[in-house]
């Protein structure tokens, strides 16, 4: 960052919204993937669209790389700062500009929290369907960048299925609009919304997003099925899918994940090796019929217990436990890697057995908690960062799991994105030609490669993995872990 660039920033932002001191920058060093950290050159906190556009144009003029950041909840390091680059914090752009219950749309700023849209739409019997586990804090801007999913995307699709239109500033400073407010979509020409959603911040920043709202289901029926074998729970998912039922969500948690979540929210989960959560939703007559069929399938699948949520409070607890499960694993282990891979759901049981074998091979604990209906696995690899070589071992295991996903015909990421974490796995998933096309697209929009530089594509300048090990105060004998 040169002096001229900095002076120009000062003309856009008052000092309290232009962060440059160490104490202000440190808390922005990492997002929710703390294995990586990098200190940004500066952090700016715009409060309106014009400031964002001016900032991006300034970055383009001076070839300063930038990353947009919402609540910093990325699990792939997507909002990790670029060393000496600019971090643009969008959390203050949090207004819902319009909510039209007739048209069933909402127009929002990028810093609006996912759940806030559903809260605002609730009085009209509407809601915003994509529900990442971090929905109480993650922002729509980040959901766009990573095409976020969630438990209920099984039935309703990911973020890209719910964005109707947007206004964006591209990395070269061009301001443009994609799509419209029409729920039918434009239907002509390339799907530019589809191109932008999931581009991991490499094309620019969404300034205004028009999302689809859905009518709330009349009833929910949330079912817990307990198994004494993880593979059997996986097979149950294939059986439900094969039967033609389409539940709102199908999730699996294994013993470790159940233990952690239970400690966190006391949801009253059964004591089991694996737990399948199936949620049926819709009109009550239909849900009743589906429930009968589901009961039959679950009995056949060898579940030893079947429980149905008796109240809305119980349903909320079941989901709170599931949605907080990743972080709850922090109770079991000082460090862990959250993996995010996909396998065809007909091969779930097979994949889980293979992960179990890998776990034994590496001598590491793995907790499984995942969107089973989508075949979207989330193995959490537990390790102790203080032990020499533990992180490397955990990463090697993570790598084998990803290879397994690809071999089974799946993907290296279901919803967390490539970000910083999986850059090096991109060539395992895509051919050289495919990656070249992606690069060419990117350069045509961002010739200076300033938007989220260093992410998604292999190589490039990357911040080093943070050193793990004994806490300095522990080394000094000041503190100890009980």
């Amino acid at each position: 960052m040169n002096r001229a660039f900095f002076a120009a920033l000062e003309s856009i932002y008052p000092p309290q919204r232009l962060l440059t001191r160490d104490v202000e920058l440190l808390p922005y060093e990492s997002d929710a993937l703390t294995a990586f950290s990098a200190k940004p050159g500066a952090v700016v906190l715009p409060v309106n669209e014009a400031e964002i556009v001016d900032t991006v144009r300034l970055c383009h003029d001076h070839a300063v790389p930038f990353v947009a950041r919402g609540s910093g909840t990325s699990l792939s390091g997507g909002s990790l700062p670029i060393p000496e680059g600019l971090t643009i914090g969008l959390n203050r752009l949090n207004r819902i500009k319009k909510l039209d219950p007739q048209q069933r749309i909402a127009v929002v700023e990028p810093g609006v929290i996912n759940l806030s849209i559903s809260e605002a739409a609730q009085p009209y019997g509407l809601y915003y369907a994509p529900d990442p586990s971090s929905q109480s804090i993650c922002t729509i801007g980040g959901n766009i960048a990573f095409n976020s999913g969630g438990a209920h995307c099984l039935k309703y699709g990911m973020t890209s299925n719910h964005v109707l239109g947007m206004k964006v500033v591209l990395a070269d400073g061009t301001v443009t609009k994609f799509g419209s407010e029409s729920v039918e979509g434009v239907g002509i020409g390339p799907d530019l919304i589809g191109l932008f959603v999931g581009s991991e911040g490499l094309f620019g920043i969404a300034l205004e997003i028009t999302v689809r709202l859905m009518p709330q289901p009349e009833v929910y029926r949330t079912v817990l099925a307990a198994y004494d074998d993880l593979g059997r729970a996986g097979d149950a998912v294939s059986m439900v899918v094969a039967s033609g039922l389409l539940p709102g969500a199908m999730e699996i948690m294994d013993r470790l994940a159940i233990e952690a979540a239970e400690a966190s929210v006391k949801a009253g989960y059964p004591d089991a090796e694996a737990l399948l959560i199936v949620e049926l939703e819709g009109e009550s007559i239909q849900v009743n019929t589906e429930f009968e069929r589901l009961q039959g399938i679950i009995q056949q699948s060898g579940a030893f217990e079947l429980r149905v949520a008796e109240s809305e409070a119980e349903r909320t607890r079941i989901w709170k436990g599931r949605k907080g499960a990743f972080s709850a694993v922090g109770r079991l282990s000082p460090d862990y890697i959250v993996q995010d891979g996909v396998v065809p759901r007909s091969r779930l049981g097979e994949a889980l057995l293979a992960i179990n074998a890998l776990k034994v091979k590496y001598g590491l604990e793995v907790a499984n908690v995942f969107h089973a209906g989508d075949g979207n696995l989330h193995p959490l690899i537990l390790y102790d960062g203080r032990a020499v070589g533990a992180l490397e071992k955990a990463e090697a295991l993570a790598g084998e799991i990803l290879a397994l996903c690809i071999n089974l015909g799946g993907s290296i990421t279901g919803e967390h994105g490539v970000g910083m974490e999986k850059r090096d796995y991109l060539p395992a998933m895509f051919s050289e030609e495919e990656i070249d096309i992606m690069q060419a697209l990117r350069r045509s929009i961002d010739p200076r490669e300033i938007a989220n530089r260093g992410k998604m594509f292999p190589g490039g300048e990357a911040p080093a993995l943070k050193l793990q090990g004994l806490h300095p105060l522990e080394k000094a004998g000041v503190i100890s872990r009980e």
Partner: protein
């Protein structure tokens, strides 16, 4: 401290619950950010003075604790960190004076009464005083109520269902003696024998809150002697006392009387929790409908997980309609000495709280904590027809006596 810091996985779930993050919108003023700053100070990568303003702005409301899936004990971390830093801290002279005034008067009812009377004189001059002093004075009522001496033992009415000691507390004794009076009457009406030990007093939480650890221990010890051991529970009517005493285990760690402190803290129960446990006898209620907002004190809701207990009590009162408000779990800005330390932020939080209260048009507002009550009264002052604000014990007492 290391365990608490390490448990944090930086997931950001706490951000949604944090009042200062919602006000200031920057990572340094979030629980996750503060933990990261504390970590960097402890690792000598950041100067403590640089981190201090952000740590000081933490309300200590504990809303982040139930929001945290990883189970970070943020409260313990904050208390330990503040105590560690306070020892080495140099404050600007005015700040130091204000803080000393807080430490040396608030926990002592007699001194506080004197100071408050002196404050009345100062109130006229408050415009000319520096902000910390002016905001302290603003909290004082125009006139201190007459003290309400209580008998050493208030007998249970009807079948005796329990024996408790009522912790008199500190500031509340001077500012609002009617609260403990009402609490004692309600308990007695419910068949509970209430002891009012004459030598009991402040629990020390307010001192612990500002990092004055040793003084907190000294003042807490007085209660160990003053309060008899052969009772069912020690009742608090102020949220901060209840949650602060639950921290005695931490406060007395390694002290010779640690066991006694823990035994004491296990007996402590908030008024609403205790009354829910023994079960309330049906009150007469009100002649006509009363629309009531219950304001959650952070140190009841977040620190002691008391959500349904006070609401259940209120719902048992005939002709009382309990109205839910938006963002009920957000701090009102009172937070111990926060409205003295951070007047601007406290006022903004108070303004927001009042806005969501007034939106449901209540006849009156109740809370289980004097700090919230004082803050809401002050914030409501400028309203044309402000609803009265009182302690839940006072409203219950009205419901028993049928007085309006």
């Amino acid at each position: 401290m290391a365990t608490a810091i390490e448990k944090c996985v930086h997931c950001g779930f706490c951000l949604a619950a944090c009042p200062t993050y919602s006000l200031l919108g920057e990572e340094m003023d979030s629980p996750r950010g503060r933990i990261y700053l504390m970590k960097n100070v402890l690792e000598d990568k950041l100067a403590a003075e640089d981190a201090q303003p952000y740590i000081d702005r933490c309300l200590g409301c504990m809303a982040c604790v139930p929001a945290c899936p990883s189970g970070v004990e943020y409260g313990d971390l904050l208390v330990s960190y503040r105590a560690l830093q306070e020892a080495e801290r140099r404050r600007p002279p005015l700040d130091a004076m204000a803080r000393n005034l807080v430490i040396s008067t608030l926990p002592y009812p007699k001194r506080f009464r004197l100071a408050a009377q002196a404050g009345k004189l100062g109130k006229a001059l408050s415009g000319a005083l520096p902000l910390p002093f002016a905001s302290m004075l603003n909290l004082l009522p125009d006139q201190l109520p007459a003290s309400r001496p209580m008998p050493p033992v208030l007998p249970a009415q009807g079948e005796r269902r329990g024996v408790v000691a009522l912790l008199p507390g500190c500031v509340q004794q001077a500012l609002a003696p009617e609260i403990n009076f009402a609490a004692a009457q309600v308990l007695a009406a419910n068949g509970v024998e209430v002891h009012n030990p004459p030598d009991a007093g402040c629990c020390g939480s307010i001192l612990l809150h500002v990092g004055a650890e040793q003084q907190a221990q000294e003042i807490a010890r007085r209660n160990f002697i003053a309060i008899p051991a052969d009772i069912d529970a020690i009742i608090t009517t102020a949220a901060g006392c209840g949650s602060g005493i639950k921290d005695y285990e931490l406060l007395f760690k390694g002290q010779p009387d640690a066991e006694r402190a823990i035994a004491f803290s296990r007996k402590v129960m908030d008024f609403s929790a205790y009354l829910s446990t023994v079960g309330m006898r049906a009150p007469a209620g009100f002649a006509s409908e009363r629309r009531v907002v219950y304001q959650d004190a952070c140190h009841l809701l977040h620190a002691q997980s008391l959500h349904s207990e006070p609401r259940n009590l209120l719902n048992q009162i005939p002709n009382l309609r309990l109205l839910p408000i938006a963002d009920a779990g957000q701090c009102c800005g009172s937070a111990g000495t926060y409205n003295i330390d951070q007047p601007a932020l406290a006022a903004e939080l108070g303004r927001r709280k009042v806005e969501s209260i007034l939106a449901v048009q209540p006849d009156l507002v109740v809370s289980g904590n004097i700090g919230c009550i004082a803050q809401l009264r002050q914030q409501l002052q400028s309203q044309p027809k402000p609803p009265p604000v009182m302690h839940i014990a006072e409203l219950l007492w009205k419901a028993y006596t049928g007085s309006d």
